[in-house]
């Protein structure tokens, strides 16, 4: 089937109005030799039930983490999503609307995103934030470009304990500008090595990136790192997990200059890793250097409150080659999810998500500590994720866990050979029950 509405009768009447006899006549500007001959090799049109059956069959070839006890994290988390979030997202007023170019008929989207901005500012303790970026990785890359722009050059220090995927994106984004990126190793507690930072920081360093918690789950002493960086006039970019901010100091408290992160876990399904939600916040002073769309409150002709896109001169519509970035379509609907999620949970509920993730991840850590042969290289200074080392190749263990309905974690050894063989990253969210944790422990016990 097709979603075209013209009937043959319509077409005839329209062609007559135009004054040609066939649609082909309108294709004159396209030289015949350039045109496709015959049909594309794509198969026959399908009816709705056929498409549905085909896609359902494909979906059943997957074994989704959400249907198992998943301990996978590393940036994307399996969390409870309140029904109200799904409901808001299912309203076509939100999902079938375009970018709010005509503010007067887009107050729904505009106010929702304004509220999203307000919520992100509160979470991060920052003054301004944009309306979303593609994901945490590109948000960090844009933050580095932004810092590099503000400082007019300079190298950037990043933690080694940053997601290898984020590091890869950062490399792709910065190589065109020739920005030097240096990794700061982690110390024996899994924290960013402060001595190494001290060594690597030069007068011209543009920025130091601190990940809080870092990719290995470890809570950094972000304030100390920020102070070190600021001492040498480098900007501080904090890459933060938004849920952790219910319990950890907001980056505003340690005077971060730019804050970025991945917001998927604020009400968005995992969706095989996309769409995600990159967020970015900064100080008011850097507002005009920040990429991305901004929504501002304003007043209408009658003095009534309303919302508009603002500072569009920073964007590519107007300044084109001088734009702060090329981002245009962003992840607006995911930002709406995040706003609905945070509003549904509220102060108490959101804190509870963080508290449960914290206490459940520590409960598993403690259970595993009792198992012999089970190494936990870093201490208890972590939020929701920790490194577990089993000492031998993981294939068998992961298979056994899977058979018991458990996705045990992300393998780390390829990306972090220094962690030794059999290292995995174990994430525990509020969705896991004590019984899941005990089952995990039992499998480790059986296999170790």
């Amino acid at each position: 089937m097709s979603y075209v509405q013209n009937t043959d009768g319509d077409r005839e009447a329209m062609l007559k109005a135009i004054g040609v006899s066939r649609i082909e006549d309108l294709l004159k500007p396209v030289e015949r030799s350039l045109r496709v001959e015959g049909d594309l090799d794509l198969g026959e049109p399908m009816s709705e039930p056929e498409t549905a059956a085909a896609l359902e069959a494909i979906s059943k070839k997957n074994c989704p983490a959400s249907s198992l006890a998943s301990f996978l994290g590393g940036g994307v988390y399996d969390r409870y999503i309140p029904s109200v979030v799904r409901y808001v997202l299912s309203r076509s007023e939100f999902y079938t609307s375009y970018t709010p170019y005509q503010a007067e008929v887009s107050q729904g989207t505009l106010q929702a995103i304004y509220e999203y901005q307000s919520l992100i500012c509160r979470l991060t303790g920052m003054e301004v934030t944009n309306a979303s970026m593609y994901d945490g990785a590109t948000a960090l890359a844009e933050a580095v470009l932004m810092a590099h722009g503000i400082k007019r050059g300079g190298a950037v220090l990043i933690p080694r304990a940053l997601s290898p995927r984020i590091k890869a994106v950062l490399r792709s984004y910065t190589k065109g500008r020739g920005i030097e990126i240096t990794e700061v190793p982690f110390d024996e507690r899994g924290e960013m090595n402060r001595a190494a930072i001290d060594d690597l920081l030069a007068e011209g360093t543009a920025a130091v990136v601190v990940a809080q918690p870092n990719y290995l789950g470890v809570i950094e002493n972000a304030a100390e790192i920020a102070a070190l960086a600021h001492d040498r006039k480098a900007l501080v970019i904090a890459y933060v997990d938004p849920v952790s901010l219910a319990l950890l100091s907001p980056p505003g408290d340690y005077e971060a200059d730019i804050v970025v992160g991945e917001g998927q876990s604020l009400g968005n399904p995992m969706n095989f890793g996309g769409p995600l939600l990159g967020f970015m916040a900064t100080r008011k002073a850097f507002m005009r250097q920040m990429p991305g769309r901004l929504i501002s409150g304003s007043l209408d002709l009658d003095g009534k409150r309303g919302y508009v896109m603002t500072l569009q001169t920073r964007e590519q519509h107007i300044r084109r080659e001088k734009a702060t970035s090329n981002i245009c379509t962003n992840e607006g609907l995911c930002a709406l999810s995040a706003a609905a999620y945070l509003s549904a949970l509220g102060e108490e509920g959101f804190r509870d998500v963080a508290v449960q993730s914290l206490s459940k991840s520590h409960a598993l850590y403690r259970l595993l500590k009792e198992v012999s042969g089970c190494e936990l290289p870093f201490g208890e200074n972590f939020f929701q994720e920790f490194v577990l080392r089993l000492g031998s190749p993981l294939g068998n263990f992961l298979k056994k866990a899977k058979a018991a309905g458990i996705l045990a974690g992300i393998q780390l050894t390829d990306d972090f050979p220094e962690l030794g063989p059999g290292a995995i990253l174990v994430a525990v969210t509020e969705k896991r029950s004590r019984a899941d944790l005990e089952r995990y422990r039992d499998i480790v016990k059986g296999g170790a």
């Binding site: 089937m1 049909d39 983490a65 319990l247 890793g273 964007e315 509920g349």
Partner: protein, 479 residues
């Protein structure tokens, strides 16, 4: 009315509670370093639903009426695709799951890559870019690494003056230098001018086809020849691919790199600003430069491969906006080859029908036939003190959405109209009638336009004040 969620908050209300915590927090308090509350609103489920229903009521959307936004291809978003993208077998996948557990997802991605390659005549596609501009950036990275690999220091990207703003911006953030070339009096690239601008410094010609005037580059074969002869590549911004489906395959006419916007051409919804998806296709020679990981079909199943020493690397945390890909895939499956071609044909028919009807009332700088869209100018209304933006706002009063305005930059007082194929003739007629009535009003009572809109949730907003002193977050003191 019109309150923010913060103003509807009352401490102690809950819209959602977690199951009780079955693990102790004991001994962990020292890890908690936040002082004081976050400041999240507290509101019951009913009032939260009402909040969003109230906001929803203030939005225009495709299910309410037509979006004649040129270059945006705001077409109908089939409901079944939303349902399918919402299947637990898709939404519940973690990107770090073992490939054995995600064979369906990989099959779908592989199938979509192949379908896009067939539609565009390209050698290979990546689905990683999260939007059109992200695709442009990816394309520029590929060109960069391609020339770097050949030891060529080409730094210039030639961009027509009619191009979308993201084109030069993408060029710039990639470290290239954009060079603008003027369109000729037909609104097209002039091979003679191009010949002069393209040289050994030129890395890429970045064109849009059909261009943003809705016109097909009649001399495209010559244009491509000139660029290739200079050793440069041709990049095509495929945001307007809707007009070419089943009619022209960019790869066949010599395009080297291109992106398509799934959230335009392939009917995935725009979500009030995203998520989108901007897959990038390249000719076979450039396939190794595509971002990793790539989905490869092997005898035993699908794998994710990072084996490529030429790759530009990663440009997204995982595999792009997977949920959007599902919808585009379902769309292509449903339409098939014949349905896609019909999309192009009817989008062209609708555009020409509307252009034909309106070109007397507003002025048309570049004559048709157009492809899927056309650009009018409201400069003939200037004498009445009326501007394009006034026409746009007056349309809102009639319950319609405005066309894209003031773009492309080369048309004064531009009104860029793309009706798309999913609109019926009745809808086009109704739109045309209002456009005609507005032109009449501009002459008879221009204040109806200059003071418009009056029938919208708010009237014209003070954008200047907002940009002088942006209010980017709600604060209690301010109220």
């Amino acid at each position: 009315m019109g309150k923010t969620v913060f103003e509807k908050s009352s401490s102690g209300r809950r819209a959602f509670t977690l199951p009780p915590n079955d693990c102790p927090l004991e001994g962990l308090k020292q890890l908690i370093t936040r002082k004081g509350p976050v400041g999240l609103p507290e509101i019951g489920e009913q009032d939260l639903v009402r909040h969003y229903i109230e906001l929803a009521g203030k939005n225009y959307h495709i299910d309410k009426g037509m979006y004649p936004l040129g270059s945006c291809t705001m077409k109908y978003n089939p409901l079944i695709n939303e349902e399918l993208a919402g299947l637990g077998g898709f939404t519940g996948l973690h990107p770090d799951q073992d490939v054995g557990d995600v064979q369906g997802a990989l099959e779908l991605m592989h199938g979509l890559e192949r379908a896009l390659s067939e539609i565009c005549g390209m050698g290979a596609f990546t689905l990683q870019p999260a939007a059109g501009a992200h695709g442009e950036f990816t394309g520029m990275l590929i060109a960069r690494d391609y020339f770097l690999g050949r030891g060529e220091k080409r730094k210039v990207i030639v961009v027509p003056d009619s191009a979308h703003g993201t084109n030069p911006a993408s060029v710039a953030i990639c470290g290239f230098t954009p060079k603008t070339i003027q369109s000729n009096e037909l609104g097209l690239i002039d091979p003679a001018i191009l010949e002069k601008e393209v040289d050994g410094e030129t890395a890429v010609l970045m064109l849009t086809l059909p261009n943003t005037l809705g016109l097909f580059e009649r001399e495209i074969a010559e244009v491509v020849r000139i660029v290739h002869d200079a050793g440069a590549l041709v990049y095509m911004d495929g945001a307007n691919m809707n007009a070419l489906l089943g009619i022209v395959r960019p790869g066949d006419i010599g395009i080297d790199i291109m992106h398509v916007n799934l959230h335009k051409t392939f009917s995935t919804p725009h979500g009030g600003g995203g998520p989108g998806s901007g897959p990038v296709g390249v000719n076979a020679e450039l396939a190794d430069f595509l971002p990793i990981p790539r989905v490869i079909k092997e005898d035993t199943g699908y794998i994710l491969s990072c084996d490529s020493d030429k790759t530009v690397g990663r440009i997204h945390s995982y595999f792009g906006n997977f949920n959007v890909l599902v919808k585009a895939y379902a769309y292509i499956q449903t339409l098939g080859a014949r349905g896609l071609k019909q999309v192009a044909m009817d989008s062209i028919l609708n555009a020409n029908y509307l252009m034909n009807r309106l070109e007397g009332t507003y002025s048309l700088k570049y004559p048709g036939p157009c492809m899927h869209e056309f650009v009018l100018s409201a400069r003939n209304l200037k004498k009445n003190g009326v501007r394009t933006s006034d026409v746009a706002k007056r349309l809102l009063d009639y319950g319609l959405h405005a066309p894209t305005v003031y773009f492309p930059l080369i048309v004064e007082e531009a009104l860029m109209i793309e009706p798309v194929e999913t609109e019926s003739r009745e809808t086009l007629d109704a739109f045309a009638e209002v456009m005609e009535r507005i032109a009449q009003e501009a002459k008879e009572s221009p204040e109806l336009l200059t003071e418009a809109p009056r029938h919208t949730p708010v009237r014209r907003l003070d954008e200047a004040a907002a940009s002088r002193n942006p209010d980017l977050q709600w604060r209690p003191e301010e109220k």
